[in-house]
């Protein structure tokens, strides 16, 4: 069980984001504990991606605050987020298609030689090492990533997130483009990362995946938080009705 008596790893308090008068995120508060997976659910446009992009530094929030280990932090851009060991696997994967796997994995954090030049050989060796663990079948280290299959590209994006000792991992629909076998491997990876004490925000459409993978689920609708529930205490139908009707099952609210 997750110990929720201590300070949460991440707290996003009262966060609001608007785009030209439309409130994409409206006073939402969520939190995440070490070793926990919190699912973020909702229809398209419910605001879950926008909310989480404030944490990964892609968007800036208009109001609210973010606390990491109980300390208020200021995340202005993706660089700041990375400095707090927040790693993100974007739905679009955010890979530079014209570069190879190693260049993508280390993009923005290249290993350099003492002379200050990028050390391609060492980066490739490190990429081979981490890929050997994540996806032993991966062989195309020299090709630009556009030559890779969907699953291979996904594994590059995942490798990039886990290589740099993430403490907080954001996964935006990591299995949307994957087959059943690859989805199973992502599920196993999530279990592994949980065991290492990493906190994971998982944006997901599929209620069954949420029931299987997550400890808690926060449901959003029209930019507002419907509620956060313990997945063991509710049924599929409860979560679905939260998503569709915006109703919290009063028995299970935490």
């Amino acid at each position: 069980m997750i110990d929720r008596s201590a300070t949460p790893l991440v707290e996003m308090r009262d966060v609001s984001v608007s785009f030209g008068g439309i409130k994409a995120v409206d006073h939402v508060t969520i939190d995440l504990y070490p070793g926990e997976v919190v699912g973020l659910l909702g229809h398209n446009g419910a605001g879950k991606s926008t909310l989480i992009k404030c944490l990964s530094g892609a968007y800036r929030m208009d109001a609210g605050e973010i606390l990491i280990d109980g300390t208020r932090v200021d995340i202005q851009n993706p660089r700041d987020a990375r400095a707090y060991n927040i790693e993100t696997i974007y739905q679009t994967l955010a890979l530079a298609d014209n570069l190879d796997a190693a260049s993508n994995l280390f993009l923005g954090r290249e290993l350099v030689t003492p002379m200050g030049f990028v050390d391609d050989a060492r980066m490739e060796a490190e990429t081979r090492r981490i890929m050997g663990r994540l996806n032993p079948n991966f062989q195309k280290f020299k090709d630009p990533v556009k030559a890779l299959s969907g699953g291979q590209r996904q594994s590059v994006a995942i490798a990039r997130a886990v290589y740099f000792d993430a403490r907080i991992l954001i996964m935006d629909e990591p299995t949307a483009a994957l087959g059943p076998q690859e989805t199973q491997m992502v599920a196993e990876l999530i279990e592994q990362l949980k065991a290492q004490g990493i906190g994971i925000f998982l944006i997901e459409h599929d209620v069954h995946s949420v029931m299987n993978l997550c400890d808690r689920a926060s449901v959003m609708k029209n930019g507002q938080l419907v509620g956060t529930v313990d997945v063991d205490a509710v049924s599929d139908e409860d979560i679905l009705s939260m998503i569709i009707l915006g109703k919290t099952p009063d028995t299970a609210a935490t």
Binding site: S56, A58, N77, P78, R79, R82, T88, Y90, T92, L93, A94, L95, A96, D97, N98, L99, S103, N104, L107, G108, R109, E110, V112, G116, F117, V118, A121, R122, E124, A125, L134, N135, N137, F138, Q139, K140, K146, A147, S149, G151, Q152, Q154, S155, I158, L178, Q181, E182, M185, V186
Partner: protein, 430 residues
């Protein structure tokens, strides 16, 4: 994650080019260049491939080639720069005014060894600052590069005009003129030494790359392939030096030089020009820009931004500042090109660099830089500039009318891009 295409080594037949790890695109361009040379050599009855013409071709290419290396970065980051010819003119005017008006006005008179370096420095700073300013407009104020540099095209051309009141400024400083081409060459001995040094550097680089791959237990090419590669580079480098050395200084120029020293030209004495300093500069620019593109973070970020600007941004790359840097580099290279162009003419003229923006963009594109961004090489752009210049001077030698020369060059540009598109479709590249 499982994947179906785990068989990394496709069982296809390995041809000799693949073993040597040659870039097929590079081979295509070299093939096109050789074809152009052979055709013109036949049409001119052997006058095209003489040491004299090769020497001239080389020094005529330098200015456009220098700018084309910068245009690669600009186009790779999905921008365009239409102002390079005009910027060249402004930089050239700045350097010309510095050495003929401003420095003498400060008491540093003609012939002072300070004139050339100070003028060049002022030109480089001017070019870099103007480029950075245009980059700031594009990156931070998000005005499209096309518009900013189209405005720049008019502005800088006429800034140059205003600065010089439209006059031809010259003659330029003697030391400065040595960077133009025929006025400054290394001579035979130094050219051979330089050639040998280049061969040594090329062999060392090939060897070092192999050792690095072995150290990380990556697959390596067979030793014979590495040796063949070394031999080929040696042949090309020394062949180039030999050709430029074979172009002899005309005997009347030599006898005048001897007379000036109070000596008499000995019977049967000959002297080759060797490698011009401007070509040396181009080689230095090419090496520096290639290193920048492949071995530095800046280069990595330029290509990543061109491949996927959003991904670059999300990876923490400051793409706005990157745009400023790319255009500042382009501006500084325009200044270098302006220096070579005005030194070759021995004066600054009002129309210097006219239409160069088109030549530079064409050179980069013929050299395989994709306008969609993310793809391009420095050596490709230089080869592109060389092909363009060969076409132009070849047609002039054959006696093709001026309008037809431009019509052909324009058609070749469009055709080259078409071939590139077909090639990429075929290889599934981009």
């Amino acid at each position: 994650m499982a994947d179906a295409s785990a068989s990394g080594t496709s069982g296809g037949r390995k041809n000799i080019f693949r073993t040597l790890e040659f870039d097929t695109r590079l081979l295509g361009m070299v093939g096109a260049f050789i074809l152009v040379c052979i055709v013109f050599n036949i049409l001119t009855e052997g006058r095209f491939l003489t040491p004299r013409n090769i020497f001239n071709l080389t020094i005529q290419t330098v200015s456009v080639a220098i700018m084309a290396t910068g245009m690669v970065f600009v186009i790779v980051t999905r921008h365009i720069d239409l102002s390079v010819g005009a910027l060249l003119a402004t930089c050239s005017a700045t350097m010309a005014m510095t050495q003929t008006q401003i420095l003498p006005g400060l008491g540093i008179d003609y012939g002072s060894p300070l004139i050339a370096p100070v003028a060049i420095l002022v030109g480089l700073v001017a070019g870099g600052l103007i480029g950075a300013f245009q980059g700031w407009l594009i990156g931070y104020l998000t005005i499209p590069a096309f518009i900013v540099t189209l405005g720049g095209f008019l502005i800088w051309r006429n800034v140059a005009w205003y600065m010089t009141s439209g006059q031809t400024i010259g003659p330029l400083d003697d030391t400065f003129q040595m960077l133009g081409g025929i006025g400054g060459t290394m001579g035979e001995t130094a050219s051979w030494i330089f050639g040998l040094l280049c061969v040594a550097a090329a062999c060392y680089a090939i060897w070092q790359a192999r050792r690095a791959r072995i150290a990380h237990r990556f697959p390596v090419k067979p030793v014979w392939a590495e040796a063949a590669l070394m031999a080929l580079s040696a042949l090309l480098i020394l062949g180039f030096a030999a050709t430029l050395n074979a172009y002899e200084v005309p005997s009347r120029v030599l006898s005048r030089a001897f007379e000036a020293r109070g000596e008499v030209l000995p019977e049967g004495y000959t002297q080759g020009y060797g490698i011009p300093y401007s070509v040396l500069l181009l080689i230095a620019v090419a090496v520096a820009m290639t290193l920048l593109a492949r071995r530095t973070r800046l280069g990595r970020y330029i290509f990543a931004t061109g491949g996927n600007p959003d991904a670059a941004e999300l990876s923490g790359i400051n793409t706005r500042l990157l745009t400023v840097k790319v255009f500042a580099i382009m501006g500084a290279l325009c200044a270098l090109a302006g220096m070579v162009a005005s030194a070759r003419l021995s004066f600054h003229s009002n129309d210097i660099g006219t239409l160069d923006e088109l030549r530079v963009i064409a050179a980069a594109v013929i050299g395989g830089t994709a306008l969609a961004g993310g793809l391009g090489t420095i050596y490709g752009a230089i080869l592109g500039a060389l092909i363009m210049q060969s076409l132009q001077s070849g047609m002039a030698m054959v006696g093709v009318d001026a309008p037809f020369q431009n019509i052909v060059v324009g058609a070749v540009l469009v055709l080259a891009v078409l071939i590139d598109i077909l090639y990429r479709k075929r290889t599934g590249d981009a």
